[in-house]
Amino acid sequence: MPELNLTSAPAHLRHGSSIGQPMTRRDGVLKVRGQATYAADNHPPGMLFAVMAVSSIAHGRVTSLDVAAAKRHPGVIDVMTPDHKPQLAIDPEIKTNPFVFRMEVLQSDEVRYANQPIAVVIAETLEAATEGAVLLAPRYEMLPALVGLDAGESFVPPVVGVGNPAEIHRGDVEAGLAAADKQIDAIYETPPQYHNAMEPHAIVAHWDGDKLQIDMPTQGLMLSLGRVAELFGIAPDKIHIRSPFLGGGFGSKGLMAGPPVLGIMAAKLVGKPVKLVLRREQMYGPVGHRAPTRQRLRIGADADGRLTALDHHARTVSSTFDDFYEPAADASHTLYAAPAIRTSHDAVRVNTGTPLFMRAPGEATGSIALESAIDEMAWACGMDPLAFRLKNYAEVEPITGKPFSSKALRACYDQGAARFGWAKRSLQPRQMRDDAGLLVGWGMGTATFPALMFQAEARAAIRGDGTGAMEIGAHDMGQGAWTALAQIAADAVGLDIDRITFKAGTSDLPDAGIAGGSAHTATAGAAIHSAGAAVIAKLADLATNDERSPLFGAGNAGVIARDGRLIRRDDQSRSESYTEILARAGVAEVEARGTGAPNPAAMEEYAMHAHGAVFAEVKVDPELGQIRVTRMVGAFAAGRIVNPHLVKSQLFGGMIWGMSFALHEEAVTDRRSGRVMNANLGEYHIPVNADVPPLDVVTVEEHDPHVNALGIKGVGEIGITGSAGAVANAVWHATGVRVRRFPIRIEELLKGL
């Protein structure tokens, strides 16, 4: 990989540590200049272009492909089909571990969803390959497509999400409901959604003998490496993956999907480097999506507005050939102190690509339903929605009874409400108007996301010239890993950030774990922190055991590392620079490794979650029903904030996504064919600039001594939760019309206007 020239803007002033500084992205200048090399920007000599032909039916069999016609087209080199392809070392249908999903890599003529790859055309130009794919003119034997939440017999999945039980309860829900003074029994629907990262899935694959070079955006370098190695039957050390930048992933680039494997197969077939980039509409199938849900919430409350029971059931879908179940009902585990809670799931199988993790999987879908239902109950109890939530504030995690490792949600409610001016809200809906006569509504939602950790390793070095190095195969999805992790690294080795070389984004570096579950900064950060401590310990050994050093005899515990020097803790006038220590010891550099991992003992004892409170204002045209969000305030507590600037961006992004969830996003699926009819960014609506109001994010102080050594909880996903419900609740407050199908459509609102 060409050396990356990361910069830090000169304006940055450091006061002691790097952690906590609002640095701007160090890769920002590269990106603005177009010099950041994304996967599809690579063009090795002799490279050919591969284009997938995808199925237009959702279920059936391909009966013919006009390979001859495609091959006759000028520039077409070869056509990869089930009958003409390199053999894989293992059957792609075999799930070798729980993080392996089945993929379609031309193993048969079976079609299980629309947009499934059915052939790959390889040509000298993109244009020729594209036309070649058209000329294949596939014919099918079509079977009826299973579409929608009522497609067939439902069943209870063995697990939901990643290994969560499909049903779980604490206390007697039915008794709680029976004893309730007020009951809510409501059904909410959320649509299928697609990740739609700006950068489509892309790969440039290059075989050099038995070695394989891959440029591909991935949120999981090591998982991808392992999967490629087993599929192609080669040793992992023969494979090199480069993924310095991702144009977004949101979960869809976490695990190896079929299309990049097809790219590698195509390169093998033709013996030349091959580039394969998905077209936007081809991302609506083989690379995952958020499954639709239909959720029923039954809630009981006593005369004082205290919850007596919370029953949350979610129906979802998975594909006909694999299992991923959106754990929507699990959103009810942590937030509200109902003495009786039950969450349950069931599912039907449909002809889609297998659903997958999509930014806040389960939390986002569950949150909008739960927060709507809580709002409905607050209204039924005649209570302000914030007062109702405070009344039912969970002091311990409701589903387990465990104490929280830290929970500053009360402060989030307070600070968010104050910033927003919530106290002036009318209790009744449809009371507020602006001077233009538009209906104004205020709504809120509680945000929550678990503080997760995976496993990671990092390698640190301190060099004779007094500079440092930190290496970890971490992933910058646009969230700012190049910056935030380098800040942690700088502190870990006691150097200014510009004095360390920070390497990330390739598969030859130590495993950073996946960039998912909002856990990347915590996981990779913990490994970096521990590698830094280890390398400093080695350096300290050299100094404190050497009688010529002013630090002689200080002992390992007796020095601290700061600004390139080791300093005696008990006598700060005695110190020595890294350069001096290494020069005298005659060592070119010291090196050490460190790991980051969850702490099972702490997890056993504590419930670990980030929290937040989101307040939204919407305006609604009283006759035409068009909606606009005009203000949002989010207050979040997520442990230690490594870089306030990047964290705000993550939270802004999450809040915008939440608003998108409530008002815009939906893959419109034809109920007969199972095809997504709006598979393009013109018609699959996400908010545009004019939809995004001034956003205000408050990060609330929170010290968590249990989650990990650095006290980091993660902020990547939490912003969606709470926000979607806040917007939906604001629409109700503006209009008095409760829409329970998302996104809220004008026709639903018009019925009540």
Binding site: D435, H664, A690, E747
Partner: protein, 351 residues
């Protein structure tokens, strides 16, 4: 992509000759055509690029007070022409409510008139579509059709014409100037787009090779400048096609409507001129009641073509609102959120 010939004629006559052959299509800015080609919906053999033709990019005031807009004038250039926006404010507002700034910068007047429907089944070559392939059927009829037509549709096709620009144009009696094999002719814009009937594939009155060279606004169109608005309901604040839109233009004299113009967008395969409603408005004072009556009259023939009955009620409401806004007077400046129900919100962010 399919291989095709690309020609760039120097004169209108050459262009017409080059485009008269079967399989030839005019290419303007390509913001619609190229998408259709990439999706294999259009597979022309020959593209006749008209963007280099001389003299079609002018806005001219004619001796009789009419305004002639060359077919190659960009949507943005027209909307931002101060004189134009002052004289025909509803048209400028409609233009600025369409697509995005980037698209408007290149999209042409001619291309906007002839942009194709956004019916998803038309774009999806795996679906049956009578417009794309005569006699194949219409998958929208029982499909996802909440945005489809409520006026003028047929069993063969329920698609709408998506242009914003055309709506106030048709209200103001715009005329289309056409250069064809047999020379120049002109037709009212109202006659350019055809309703589907049994031949939804025939979308316009144009013959093969016909080139739109200009759109003309007759002198009378200026008379509405003081009371002309365009309003568009859509599913996000900007960068979305209309669910329903309306253009209203009034000439108010001595407290009475001397003349009214009304057209609807997003409801039919053509910009929908509501003449019967205009008649109701003529000669009466602009009141809420009369606007209601006009709205009912405008939609009296409407019927749902699928899950879109709400569009009829929405269209009535938008007619009332647009007439109300027009009667109140054209604002001195085009709002930062053109044609939006939120146009009057203070502190609006630009679309």
């Amino acid at each position: 992509m399919k291989q095709f010939d690309y020609v760039r004629p120097a004169t209108v006559a050459e262009a017409v000759a080059a485009a008269a052959q079967p399989g030839a299509t005019y290419l303007a800015a390509g913001t619609n055509l190229l998408d259709l080609m990439k999706g294999n919906v259009s597979r022309p053999d020959r593209l006749v690029d008209v963007t280099h033709l001389d003299g079609l990019d002018r806005i001219e005031r004619l001796a009789d007070g009419a305004l002639r807009i060359g077919a190659l004038v960009s949507n943005a250039a027209l909307a931002h022409d101060a004189e134009f926006a002052k004289s025909y404010p509803a048209i400028a507002e409609a233009l600025l409510s369409g697509a995005s700034a980037q698209l408007r910068n290149v999209a042409t007047v001619g291309g906007n008139l002839l942009q194709r429907t956004r019916c998803a089944y038309f774009y999806d070559t795996a679906s049956r579509c009578n417009k794309r392939e005569a006699g194949s059927g219409c998958d929208a009829r029982d499909g996802e059709n909440r945005a489809h037509a409520v006026l003028g549709w047929s069993e063969s096709c329920i698609a709408t014409h998506p242009s914003d620009f055309c709506v106030p144009l048709v209200a103001l009696d715009a005329i289309v100037e056409i250069e064809g094999k047999n020379g120049r002719r002109e037709i009212p814009l109202d006659e350019l787009h055809r309703l589907p009937g049994n031949t939804p594939g025939r979308e316009s009155a144009l013959e093969p090779g016909d080139l739109i060279v200009a759109v003309r606004l007759p002198a009378a169109a200026r008379g509405f400048a003081a009371h002309a608005r365009y309003l568009k309901v859509r599913e996000r604040t900007s960068y979305a096609f209309a669910i329903v839109s309306a253009a209203a233009a009034l000439r108010i004299e001595n407290g009475k409507i001397a003349e009214a113009r009304l057209a609807l967008g997003g409801v039919a395969a053509k910009p929908w001129r509501a003449r019967a409603a205009e008649d109701i408005l003529k000669g009466v004072a602009p009141t809420a009641d009369v606007f209601q009556e006009a709205a009912w009259r405008a939609l009296s023939d409407a019927k749902p073509s699928g899950d879109n009955a709400y569009k009829i009620e929405l269209a009535r409401r938008i007619v009332v609102r647009t007439l109300t806004l027009a009667a109140a007077g054209t604002p001195a400046r085009i709002p930062a959120l053109p044609a939006s129900p939120f146009a009057s919100t203070s502190g609006a962010i630009h679309a």
